[in-house]
Symmetry: C2
Amino acid sequence: MFFGTLGTLLRQGWARCNLAAMNATLTSRRRFLKAATLATAGAPWINRFASAAQADDPNRKLGFALCGLGGLSGGQIAPALSKTKNCRLAGIVTGHPDKAEKWKAQFNIPDKNIYNYENMEKMSDNPDIDVVYVVTPNALHAELTIKAAKAGKHVLCEKPMEVSVEKCQQMIDACKAANRLLAIGYRSRFDPATQECIQLAQQKVFGASKMIEAGFGFHIGDPNQWRLKRDLAGGGALMDVGIYALQATRYLSGEEPNIVTALETKTDPVKFKEVDESVTWQLKFPSDIIANCSTTYAFGGINSYTVFAERGAFGLNPAYGYEGNRGFRTDGRRIEYPPMDQFAAEMDDFAQCILKNKPSIVSGEEGLRDIRIITAIYESIRTGKAITLA
Amino acid sequence: MFFGTLGTLLRQGWARCNLAAMNATLTSRRRFLKAATLATAGAPWINRFASAAQADDPNRKLGFALCGLGGLSGGQIAPALSKTKNCRLAGIVTGHPDKAEKWKAQFNIPDKNIYNYENMEKMSDNPDIDVVYVVTPNALHAELTIKAAKAGKHVLCEKPMEVSVEKCQQMIDACKAANRLLAIGYRSRFDPATQECIQLAQQKVFGASKMIEAGFGFHIGDPNQWRLKRDLAGGGALMDVGIYALQATRYLSGEEPNIVTALETKTDPVKFKEVDESVTWQLKFPSDIIANCSTTYAFGGINSYTVFAERGAFGLNPAYGYEGNRGFRTDGRRIEYPPMDQFAAEMDDFAQCILKNKPSIVSGEEGLRDIRIITAIYESIRTGKAITLA
């Protein structure tokens, strides 16, 4: 029912209210986020994945092993790989033999490129695999990233990078020691709508930025999913989707915040016993930009950012979708681009970084910065104090 | 330039961005807020103000004395009086003899109904005047309210009620001692668009409310105006326009917040040397509703609220204008009403309270609650701590 009203409401002039996200019948985040994109999964690319990696060819397709075969890998990343220029689905890492069988058949993956979490070190003698893309629950990211790096593979790791600053640092250290690149799956950075907003802010098209409002949330379904378990997720809405809004305030301001305050609320303390349900937080940046942010697992319709500047404003709504992000500028121009695949762009960018041996703009250090701020947000909630960041 | 794009942008689906407010050429808040309404000031009502008050007639027109003849009195309140059923402009109180002359001529006010701040006590023997409407700078509200109450007059006082909890309490006490009614000029409560939102929240049409986002700000012009002087204003954007967003979170939740956190930023420390420029604050309510609010004197385009509830959302944008407030509901209905005058409705409501001897919904106690929370917001900014409200 809410899906049907999205277009109407957007025409009516209402933002911070992506009504697609408000569909109370949605039972899983992935089902919401993947939306229409799934329809592209027709597997016409299977045969293109057969050839082995060729060293030293700047145009070669790097072999990706997907580590963790949940909804994101199947619904988004595998289809996206088929749209890349420099990547191919070469292997998988999974703890589920049944999933291994299914993927092997669907994507024509040779047995030698199929791993589980215990035998990943054997990848070191497999030239088919250049990159491990870690797509597991958050609290496994460090362990699997470190294993992949020790096996000599570059690592692309989904956001949030990990559940603590310490574990993020271990990931950075392991990749550095192995002389491998590490990047975090911040796909929004490759969305042209977001890139236009970053440019508008950097070039001060509407003058200096003064305030940023950003929020991302959705109504989470299944109460038994790993996202609601502290051991696996490390946190709730803030770790999972609030991080998009947090990232936005950082890439839009181009700065690192130095003060954080936050409040949490739980309207369903049973369902959200282990992790945060709804959080609002505020950030102050060195140039005196202030940001006001929200995230939630309790309701949808919140998926936007707005930058208020001296002589105008601009922003996106929706801002963090897999596709269809679009926005406004107060000079009357629309921010709107043809459909593209953020995951494909993210993977191709990482492939270029590897082929040209340059760090990613969404490096491990970048991922760690968000986790450091998220940690400060939780500390502010716990202590009731504004937290000063070093 | 921004005025021209408002309609376009609203159609394009962008909220929290009342672009009328973004016009960088605006030099005064009053010029912005009064906007089109001024055009109605043609004075066809002058002669209707001639008759004296008649005691004990439930349909009689109560005589209002406007105390403080700035832009709001001339641009909004005097024209609004002509649209009321039970009020009439009977007198004035001003410290400026030239303004007295001008108003006397324009509104046909008899000399005996013209006062200054020093001789207000003489009102006690003037039956023409039933109500004093205090429209001065904030820090004069208590003194003038108390003088009016002591002269036996009911008092309608502009928001913010005063600059401290103590002074608000003195106003309440003085009116109580004089057995006179006191109300605060929270005109929004009489806007049917706001009333619909309150009803949607109270009746849980979209389920229980979970989060409220509210913001109101504008680019303030003249750096020498009283609003930027601490002695007269008591505070900056928060006291002046942030209070609308704060009020909204209270009337929409129907609760009093028990925790407050806040951050302030000053991008222009010279202009905003004495008062706050931009503030974000967060409120937590007893039923676990959380609110995320913003206010500013540094930029425009922020004039809205959104209530996120279990099964949908609703809100207004613009939300706090003198007219033209309109909104959305996720059931697809528009919130939109024919033009009306909030000031006229507010004054007629107060007149009915007086004639029927019942307290106003925007009583002095209501005004004090906002000042208590504003005080806590400033305390949170000062101390860097979440403030628990009693």
